[in-house]
């Protein structure tokens, strides 16, 4: 048997063909599955759009949270001292309160000095009035010794 004979024998296998029924059914099934695939693809596109929308919303929220509070440095400072548990607003309020107290303190010091001055002035006046004030009558304990003039007057009488 030559190689050509062998190839001729093999080529007879080309008579093996699929049935018409199978061909038609198989093709329809594949085309049907392709339609399902297309539907799935559309669903996926829809869900992908939804995902994009959700992502966009999330990104917007993050931007608002980060930049919407003003200076980002403040946020950094705030996040740097989380252990203190201090809120920025509380710190600011405390700072303003301290300023008020300082003002009030300086005012108080001023009034205090004024009061002192007044008191001082009043204190001087009080001491001078005390000097002019008549002395309380002294209770005689013993008759004072007569003076020379008194003794001369008594002698003349």
């Amino acid at each position: 048997m030559t190689e050509e004979d062998l190839i001729a024998k093999l080529s007879k296998l080309r008579t093996l063909k699929p049935g018409e029924g199978f061909s038609r059914l198989s093709k329809n099934a594949i085309m049907g599955s392709s339609r399902r695939k297309a539907t799935m693809a559309n669903r996926w596109n829809f869900s992908r759009t939804l995902n994009y929308g959700a992502s966009l919303l999330l990104a917007s929220l993050i931007v608002i949270l980060v930049f919407g509070r003003g200076n980002p440095d403040v946020l950094v400072k705030e996040t740097k001292t989380p252990a203190t548990g201090l809120n920025l607003a509380v710190v600011n309020e405390a700072s303003a309160a301290i300023k008020d107290i300082n003002v009030q303190l300086s005012q108080a010091q001023y009034f205090n000095s004024e009061v002192n001055n007044t008191n001082q002035a009043l204190g001087v006046a009080a001491s001078s009035s005390e000097e002019t004030k008549p002395a309380a009558p002294k209770t005689p304990t013993a008759a004072p010794a007569p003076t020379i003039d008194q003794m001369l007057n008594q002698a003349a009488q």
Partner: protein, 182 residues
């Protein structure tokens, strides 16, 4: 290779479903024959051929014509489908017998095969069972389905030189088997 094949594949990838029709009509008999000679049973061959085309359609977006014809790609899918099928336990390949050949002859609805033709087919298929799987595949692709050396190499994942060598051994071994049967 089908005329305007790459254009049809491109249309199919772009979603033009009708482009599938000429590709399917052209390759179905070839792929079916390739699978049938490998598995030897009509029902299995039909199922596996269908699975192969379904996979091809579902993965058509992954096909890139970079020196690789659509036909070669399709044959590879069919080959892998058959291998996957026989990897499952309890399945044996090449259960071809005369009864099966009767079934095979029925497949060709438009052609009534004479008994001697059936016997001749049975003789060839039986001889093919007795050579190595890679040699059998090479002979089917080269001399039954008329694939070029390059396309056969692409389907089998071998170099053209290796395919030449396999083909030489296959012809020699098949001839030996057929002569022994005579």
């Amino acid at each position: 290779m089908l005329e305007d094949e790459q254009n049809l594949v491109k249309k199919l990838q772009d979603g033009e479903v009708q482009a599938f029709d000429p590709l399917y009509n052209h390759y179905l008999p070839k792929i079916f024959r390739f699978v049938l000679i490998k598995v030897g049973q009509r029902e299995e061959a039909e199922d596996l051929t269908h699975q192969a085309f379904l996979k091809a359609w579902q993965k058509i977006d992954q096909y890139e014509p970079k020196g690789y014809s659509f036909g070669s790609w399709l044959y590879r899918i069919a080959r892998n489908t058959v291998y996957d099928y026989y990897r499952k336990p309890g399945r044996e390949a090449n259960k071809v017998d005369l009864e099966t050949l009767d079934q095979i002859s029925v497949l060709d609805e438009n052609q009534e095969l004479a008994l001697d033709q059936k016997m001749e087919l049975a003789e060839i298929v039986s001889a093919l069972k007795k050579i190595k799987e890679i040699e059998k595949e090479t002979l089917i692709l080269r001399f039954v389905d008329d694939l070029s050396l390059k396309e056969t190499a692409q389907v089998l994942g071998k170099s053209e030189g290796a395919v030449k060598l396999i083909q030489y051994r296959a012809v020699k071994n098949l001839k030996k088997v057929l002569e022994k049967n005579d």
